[in-house]
Point group: C2
Chain length 205, copies 2
């Protein structure tokens, strides 16, 4: 139904690139319409305001991110059926993926919007929240599966451990952005990976 031109999609593409590069507020509607080669009226036909654009961007971003994780850990599972090794392989793949991105990962829209959240309405903030809760659930499930097989060497809160995946990635991306280096996020993920190796290492006795 939208294989004609898909102006809406083109707007989202341009906007996402610009927002990841400069932040939401610094991205003007003017430059979006210039990039998408439409008129200002055309933009407001698709999105009633910048909030609507933000919501649509977040929805799309979260969906592709979810697909990416599904994919990544499915591939990892094919390589090794053990839950711990699957996790370790998945994180390695994630780290490699982040490293392969030429000028570094563009940065996470979630963190970006989290720190400007007063610009947005409740709908956007709630979307943001649900995305992180979704990741928490996903990773907590995987960690519980691991813990059932390998008893953790130290007691850990599984929700918090699930959050730590998101936190380490987000934190790494903040560092990367601020330092203008390009592999901080992948390094942080690899450190987190060694954490998991130590945490779920079989007891020696």
């Amino acid at each position: 139904m939208e294989q004609k031109v898909d102006t809406r999609g083109r707007i989202l593409d341009i906007a996402e690139a610009a927002v990841l590069d400069k932040g939401f507020e610094a991205t003007s509607i003017e430059e979006i319409v210039a990039g998408a080669e439409i008129s200002r009226g055309g933009f407001f036909y698709h999105f009633k305001d910048k909030n609507a654009l933000a919501r649509a961007m977040l929805e799309r971003y979260i969906e592709t991110e979810d697909v990416l994780y599904d994919d990544l850990f499915a591939r990892a599972r094919e390589l090794n059926d053990d839950p711990l090794h699957c996790m370790l392989i998945g994180l390695k793949l994630l780290a490699e993926m982040l490293e392969e991105m030429p000028q570094g990962h563009p940065g996470c829209v979630i963190a970006s919007t989290a720190y400007q959240d007063r610009l947005f309405d409740e709908g956007v903030r709630e979307l943001n929240r649900q995305a992180i809760l979704g990741w928490r659930k996903r990773f907590r499930g995987m960690f519980e599966e691991i813990a059932a097989k390998y008893e953790p060497r130290e007691p850990v809160n599984m929700d918090a451990l699930g959050d730590m995946v998101s936190g380490v990635v987000e934190g790494g991306l903040v560092l990367q952005r601020a330092l203008r280096e390009h592999n901080n996020a992948s390094e942080q993920i690899m450190l987190f990976r060694t954490y998991l190796k130590l945490l779920f290492a079989p007891k020696p006795n």
Copy 2:
């Protein structure tokens, strides 16, 4: 020399609170001058533009943050002279401090500016960068001291491990902000703490 009224300081106080609450761009000069009870002209007398305000805020913020860390780990060192235990106590104190803040830690100015960095000039970005490099140096030093006494169970890059402190805190604050929970950052710090315990645990043999 500035015990009279210290308008400049009052501007910074108001601005910092507002920026941590809503982000830099969402904070208008109008509301700052209203809060500080000065005129717009007065504001521009102290800061030639918003960039100058950002730079001053960052400088002040970084300085107080550094003092805070100095303090925290000095207290930890008093409690236990061993480098590993000093680190573990310091992180515990940090986690407790974050938890005690009534509606959660306001969020880190560093991450906030990192995600809107195109709004700022090179001076601000460089300040931001130097702050994180400073923390890297601080924590790397501490970890090297620990590693000299307790051989790490897995090989780790000391720069990356130093960055991980900042990363975990920043990431935790992002989660906290987006989830609107209040103890994510301290939980993440505590998880990082168990990482260190496992990483530097004496070998059993």
